[in-house]
Amino acid sequence: MPETIENPPLLLCPLGDSAVVLQFGEEISLNTHFRIRAVAQALEQRAFQGLLEYVPAYTTLTVYYNPWVLSQQGKLDAYSEVVRQLEILVEQAEENEPAPARVVELPVMYGGTYGPDLQEVAEHTGLSIEEIIRIHSSGRYQVYMIGFAPGFAYLGGMDERIATPRQANPRASIPAGSVGIAGEQTGVYPISTPGGWQLIGRTPLQLFDPDREVPSLLQAGDEVRFVPISEQEYEARKEPKV
């Protein structure tokens, strides 16, 4: 018998005069993540008057609204109206069968100049380079949220065996597409920035492109898998970087 998971109570509270925060719990968990994803999907399907946008995070879903639009619709209390709409959506979301996560495969050329810190990760973990690549590319990673920079995904689910602390001296510039490890996290740099992550590889795909209809390749709720590729494949699949 699977253990029944008791959902922590959902709290709704105002964040200033133009946002409502739905707080689904206090800790990072897959269950919380799935609940947030379900409500986000419901919002996507059934937007209400005055809704501006929403931002999913680890334990919260923040919903931005325009109170003036609601008041022009005759809603005297814009906040209560938004809360009422959200409660309906939450109820629907919790009843619905959750839609399966979209799986995004990210091809990665591991090691060499693409992943200059792979050797350091091997030394720190005591594993061979091949083992690190095997472990990193066999994991399934959840995109908990997008933030920090356009298209940057906070990924969960990395195997602890390959956890490695950040570099003592951050690099002045890390190429876009770099795949790195920082402590127990793994991630991909969407744009070229300074940073201290241990770089183990690079994806030829462009993580963020403002000219695409959906600019960010990854979305909160996606499942990511890393697929090792050769240098030839990397060069063949290389997308222009912004």
């Binding site: 946008e53 906070y154 600019p215």
Partner: protein, 337 residues
Amino acid sequence: MTITVLKPGLQTTVQDLGRYGYQMQGVVVGGAMDKMALRMANLLVGNDEAAAVLELSMQGPELQFEQDTLIALAGADLTASINDKQLRLWRPVLVKAGSILRFGKPAYGNYTYLAVAGGINVPEVMGSRSTYLRASIGGLEGRSLRRGDSLNFFESSETSKLLLSELLLQHKAESAFTEVNWWPEPELLPTYAHDPVLRAMPGLEYAWFSENSRDYIWEQKYKLTPQSDRMGYRLQGTTLALEEERQLLSTAVSFGTVQVPPQGDPIILMADSQTTGGYPRILQIISADLPKLAQVQPGGIIRFEEVSLEEAHRLYYQQEKQLLALQQAIIYKLHQG
């Protein structure tokens, strides 16, 4: 219709009301720091209130107008002039072809909005023409203006054309510009202050702060430091601390969020606020006071005053009604003249 940039100024960018719907992809809302001033500048030249304008900061640019152009300035007073004759804010102005608009010392505020009839013609990126400098998105090639740039405008509205033809009738051949002989009543305009009281609601982690800190934030004065920009305004004053050490999991933040990093000096997130952050949020400044906040100069003294959500909404609606009244006043003036 063209403007040529003779000198770019400190940071002159194309801005509009911002980019909505992309925060979940990590893209900031951005747009004008003082959105009321942007909307009013647009209305004054007969534009849609959301048209793209130039945002000038502190040290304005030098701009040459290639054709007769209808413009309006709103927001900070950066002492605008043409041929050494001062140009007033908050009214439509006809600028004759060949004239050069210059700016002097800031008299008050940080950000001025220069609207031109038709609006600045730059491509829309993710639903907005606003410039986000950190990611080189939008505006003119994702950057601030440079010497030698030229800016084009969209076709102007019927209201703009009416205003322009009226001003051309009044125009005297020897002058470089003509202002309308009316201006909005002061109650229709935003009120700025060097040392403002900003109204706010307790933030989501307000209760995490020590009792002393919760008192200080309402009672003490905070000084705006020079380390302030479109992303955040850094404050200095009595430092704030949590009751006990706690980590916040990254979550949404926005324009007006007052967050407190571990060293204890609050930071107010501004128009280019990142989409998510991990510092406890002690306050959220109400929307109606964000224009006033944007115009506080470094060295300015800020105090916070608590208001309820109902009051915040009432002030929000009041501001929207003020804008509608301005729009109606302009239409009335046009048909009267």
